[in-house]
């Protein structure tokens, strides 16, 4: 379904922040904000929820630790408990200090890589992905705020000009 959106362009992140706060105060829903760099506090101003990616990372780390322990317990203790240079292969605990470097590295490996992959999946990013850029200038020096229009184009335009926008476009958007 095609819907009409209004896009306001700004040239300064401070003005953008004030605009976001003002638009939110007027109870309009902001669909998206495009910025060339991270603007501190923008997520708070837009009222976005906190990310939960750190929690996933913790769980991936636990998974990595489990994989390391199960793997080495099977290989070194259960499958073929050889005497290698007098190391005590009788139980996992007895030989554990030797396994700690691998336990640590696999924990970090799982936590880091799976978290990054989670981030890509959640953000819908992959190599041949079509860029969703409404205006090329937003990757350089412009900031763009996008609002949906629900038969209130005039009112929104006036409000956005009021917040210090340098340019306002109304476009059809496939969603």
């Amino acid at each position: 379904m095609a819907s009409k959106v209004i896009q306001a362009l700004y040239t300064d992140d401070d003005i953008l922040m004030h605009a976001v706060k003002k638009v939110r105060a007027e109870h309009h829903h902001i669909e998206e904000v495009y910025t060339p760099f991270p603007v501190h506090g923008l997520d708070k101003a837009m009222g976005l929820e906190d990310t939960r990616i750190a929690i996933t990372s913790f769980m991936y780390g636990c998974l990595g630790l489990t994989v390391a322990i199960v793997m080495m317990n099977y290989i070194m203790i259960e499958d073929w408990p050889q005497d290698i240079g007098g190391k005590p292969s009788f139980s996992y605990l007895e030989n554990m200090p030797a396994f700690v470097p691998i336990m640590f590295e696999l924990t970090v490996f799982f936590a880091a890589h799976l978290m990054v992959i989670t981030f890509y999946l959640r953000s819908r990013m992959w190599p041949f992905k079509k860029a969703e850029n409404p205006d090329v200038r937003t990757t350089d020096d412009h900031f763009l705020m996008e609002l949906g229009i629900h038969d209130n184009e005039k009112e929104l335009t006036a409000l956005l000009w009021d917040t210090g926008a340098v340019e306002i476009n109304v476009t059809e958007k496939d969603s």
Partner: protein
């Protein structure tokens, strides 16, 4: 201006008095003859003692107190002679116990203020923007370095005067029969030992007093020259500190096991004092904030301190494990005895401190939200401080009292006495000056700090 609350003052005096009584009881109940020592061991071990005697005696050979080691080998052939030397060995251990309890507690609280001093110098040298609000708190804690350092020095002097047997290399008879100690006598001799201790303490106390003076002068001055000078001397102090701290750890801690050595020991002791120091900064800051002082200190400052507690706890564990694993893996007899005695006789304190210093802070302080909850940081801090007391305990006790250890009156008395003295001295210093620096160039940034 902060006023020392009466309850805290009385509390610290009571702790000192009770601690003193416990310590005195410990010293009075230490045996003075072999017969008394035998009776104490017999009553402690009960009837089960006879059976375990043989094993116990053989494990003594590996113990830190090497005084008997040479005679031990010969004595094994002659049963009676062996018993006599073993009994004397136990007597020395029991006599060492109140001294070691005193020394561990004295060093623990001294090391907290030294760790805070290092943290303070780093904040100054790094020109950190978040911490200047806490400078007066840190200066208050480092004030304890003067009485604490002097007490540690006095204990070292008393050791040199043969009031105790904590440092076996100070005993001329032992050195005369020990090739290894003769080889180390160029470094480990009583005069040079005390001279070094005086240089370390002199340098640390000098920096603390001078930096405090400049910090106070900056408040009254109309330019930043005091601040700049403080920056320079802090950078210079850090160089001095890293060298002397490492040597101090060889002298004051590693030399109780004079046959053993480890190259990363200085760093290991540093990590322990650094994390305890940061923990105490956080706890004192939270206490003062809860009493309505330090109103500009917000949760973000506490969050930063808690992050340091978390990170340095892991750094401590990294060093602990690196030292343990390298020695365990190679299993070279002259090095591995250090850990064998600890694992055999100190299983619970040795692995318990790992739970308190690593697993607990790791799980509790990982969550960003919890680091902003003040009572959460206090609870974590208490566990971390107990963990690091156990760390010092595990470094000193196995060499001085061996398997005769127990956390009883002298140990608790030591903690109470020095804890009381520490609280009294720190909070008394905090009353001397306003708790917020006025003209620090970073003070406004620190006031606005949020994370």
């Amino acid at each position: 201006m902060y006023t020392f609350s009466n309850r805290l003052k009385i509390g610290s005096f009571i702790a000192m008095a009770v601690g003193l009584i416990c310590l005195a009881t410990g010293f009075l109940s230490a045996p003075s003859t072999v017969e008394e020592a035998k009776a104490m061991v017999a009553s402690a071990h009960g009837d089960g003692h006879g059976g375990g005697h043989g094993e116990e005696a053989s494990s003594h050979a590996a113990e830190g107190d090497h005084a008997e080691k040479d005679t031990h080998g010969e004595a094994a052939a002659h049963g009676e002679e062996h018993d006599a030397s073993h009994d004397e060995h136990v007597l020395h251990q029991l006599q060492n116990r109140p001294w070691s309890a005193l020394y561990v507690a004295a060093f623990f609280f001294f090391m907290i203020s030294l760790g805070v001093l290092a943290f303070y110098a780093i904040q100054r040298a790094a020109q950190a923007g978040w911490s200047p609000l806490l400078f007066r708190v840190m200066e208050g804690i480092t004030a304890y370095i003067v009485p604490g350092g002097i007490i540690v020095f006095v204990i070292l002097v008393l050791s040199v005067l043969h009031m105790n047997h904590m440092f076996v290399w100070m005993d001329a008879d032992v050195v005369a029969h020990d090739k290894l100690l003769q080889g180390k006598a160029g470094y480990l001799n009583p005069t040079f030992f005390l001279v070094r201790a005086a240089i370390f303490l002199g340098g640390w106390i000098f920096y603390r007093e001078y930096s405090r003076k400049l910090s106070l002068a900056q408040d009254e001055s109309d330019d930043n020259s005091n601040f700049k000078l403080n920056f320079r001397i802090s950078a210079a102090f850090l160089v001095f500190y890293l060298i002397t701290e490492s040597m101090m750890s060889w002298d004051w801690i590693m030399s109780v096991d004079p046959h053993w050595f480890s190259t990363l020991f200085g760093w290991y002791v540093f990590a322990s004092m650094f994390v305890s120091g940061i923990t105490v900064i956080a706890m004192v800051a939270i206490y003062l904030k809860s009493k309505g002082h330090l109103e500009d200190v917000n949760d973000s400052h506490i969050h930063d301190l808690a992050k340091f507690m978390f990170g340095i706890s892991i750094f401590w564990t990294y060093l602990w494990f690196s030292q343990f694993m390298l020695i365990w893996y190679a299993n070279i007899p002259e090095e591995v005895t250090y850990f064998i005695t600890r694992i055999e006789d100190y299983k619970l304190p040795f692995f318990g401190m790992l739970a308190m210093n690593f697993i607990f802070p790791l799980l509790v302080l990982m969550n960003s939200d919890y680091k902003r909850v003040n009572w959460f940081v206090i609870m974590a801090g208490i566990v971390v401080l107990f963990g690091h007391y156990m760390d010092v305990f595990n470094m000193i006790m196995p060499a001085t009292v061996g398997d005769q250890w127990y956390i009883g009156l002298p140990e608790i008395g030591g903690i109470l006495f020095f804890g009381g003295l520490f609280v009294y001295w720190v909070f008394n210093t905090l009353t001397k000056q306003p708790l917020q620096p006025k003209r620090n160039p970073f003070i406004e940034e620190s006031r606005q700090f949020h994370y």
